[in-house]
């Protein structure tokens, strides 16, 4: 809800200012926006479809089963991969992570899951590639995955 309020009020203010200053330029902004939106439509649809599929197949229950209460390196890798390929709202993800932690998963596993979940977006990749290019997307997500594993390792050692 906060998101909508923020974006729409920002848009309202900017639009009024823009209209006051120049109708022509405002019209041009609409044109630019429409073109960009049309261009992104296929990748937006793809992202929606993939989000639906991953969330429909990988339910919180399935994830708990996969990550489980097992300790060890393999659980951490599995958690990192699941985090990378899913897009779970934080209101679902953090309670899930908390309950996994209490039921015996290690800090390393949980931080791997959380960090790849937020840093790596396989699901949103079609959209990222469309707007920012393949090179940028592969580098950002690849490096993000590595960094997430390092972060998980350090957190496991400290906490």
């Amino acid at each position: 809800m906060g998101t909508f309020v923020t974006i729409y009020s920002l848009l309202g203010i900017s639009l009024v200012l823009s209209l006051v200053k120049s109708r022509e330029k405002t019209k041009k902004a609409f044109k630019v926006a429409g073109k960009a939106l049309l261009k992104s439509a296929p990748s937006l649809l793809a992202v929606l479809g993939i989000v639906g599929l991953t969330l429909g197949v990988l339910t919180p229950d399935t994830i708990s089963n996969l990550v489980g209460a097992e300790a060890g390196f393999m659980a951490t890798i599995a958690a990192a991969v699941i985090g990378a390929v899913t897009l779970i709202p934080s209101l679902v993800a953090f309670p899930l992570a908390g309950s996994l932690l209490r039921s015996g998963a290690t800090v390393m596993t949980i931080s791997a899951f959380i960090t790849t979940l937020v840093m790596v977006g396989v699901v949103t990749a079609p959209m990222e590639i469309k707007t920012l290019g393949k090179k940028f997307t592969v580098l950002r997500n690849g490096l993000g995955f590595l960094v997430a594993l390092i972060i998980a390792g350090i957190m496991g050692l400290i906490l």
């Binding site: 906060g2 998101t3 909508f4 923020t6 974006i7 920002l10 848009l11 639009l15 823009s18 330029k25 405002t26 041009k28 902004a29 609409f30 630019v32 926006a33 429409g34 073109k35 960009a36 939106l37 261009k39 937006l44 649809l45 929606l48 479809g49 639906g52 599929l53 429909g56 197949v57 934080s90 209101l91 992570a97 908390g98 932690l101 800090v107 959380i114 960090t115 937020v118 840093m119 977006g121 949103t124 079609p126 990222e128 590639i129 707007t131 920012l132 290019g133 090179k135 940028f136 580098l139 950002r140 490096l143 960094v147 997430a148 390092i150 972060i151 350090i154 957190m155 400290i158 906490l159």
Partner: protein, 188 residues
């Protein structure tokens, strides 16, 4: 017609997967469809105003302003601005991709944009609140510090890998006429 199919081949393929899923695992398919519908409503509300804001930025904000505040010459100040902008409660990450592309075109540095995207994705204030509630302050604080350090490192690595060439060399073109899946043929 072929153009359209080519453009939409990924959504069409995903549609097929839904059909297959519906035939074999109907429960998962109905869950997926519900999620799809929820996210569709969210996107339909968010994307048009976001793109309009970008259009306004495109038209009104001069290139040298962005360069001055977020370019590679902006130093630590540029990094701090990118980080703060990212942590504001502004919605899902896919909103940030087109914004980042627009900012890069206007002269923002790669390091700053990695910080912007990264803090948007991983260090958002409302998200941190939820994290503290369920995983505690030590976990959240440590992840915050390590993620920030990791993002800065990622920024420098990507700046080295991509930054030596001009943005047009790797960023997809803004208007799609040139890139309608005909790229190979048009070049000849």
């Amino acid at each position: 017609m072929m153009e359209m199919i080519k453009k939409f081949r990924l959504p069409i393929l995903i549609g097929f997967i839904y059909v297959v899923l519906a035939l074999f695992v109907p429960i998962a398919a109905s869950r997926s469809t519900k999620v799809l519908w929820d996210y569709f409503k969210e996107m339909a509300m968010i994307m048009p105003p976001v793109f309009l804001l970008m259009g306004l930025m495109e038209v009104w904000v001069p290139k040298n302003e962005i360069q001055k505040w977020l370019g590679s010459g902006a130093g630590i100040r540029g990094g701090v601005i990118s980080f703060v902008l990212g942590t504001l409660p502004t919605g899902p990450l896919y909103v940030a991709f087109p914004m980042t592309a627009a900012l890069l075109r206007k002269g923002a540095s790669i390091t700053n944009m990695i910080l912007f995207l990264g803090s948007w994705a991983a260090l958002k204030i409302p998200q941190l609140m939820i994290e503290i509630k369920f995983l505690g302050i030590p976990f959240t604080a440590l992840r915050f510090v390590l993620t920030l350090a990791g993002l800065i490192a990622m920024g420098f690595i990507m700046e080295t890998a991509l930054g030596h060439r001009s943005v047009d060399k790797w960023l997809p073109p803004e208007d799609e006429e040139a890139g309608n899946g005909m790229k190979g043929k048009m070049k000849i």
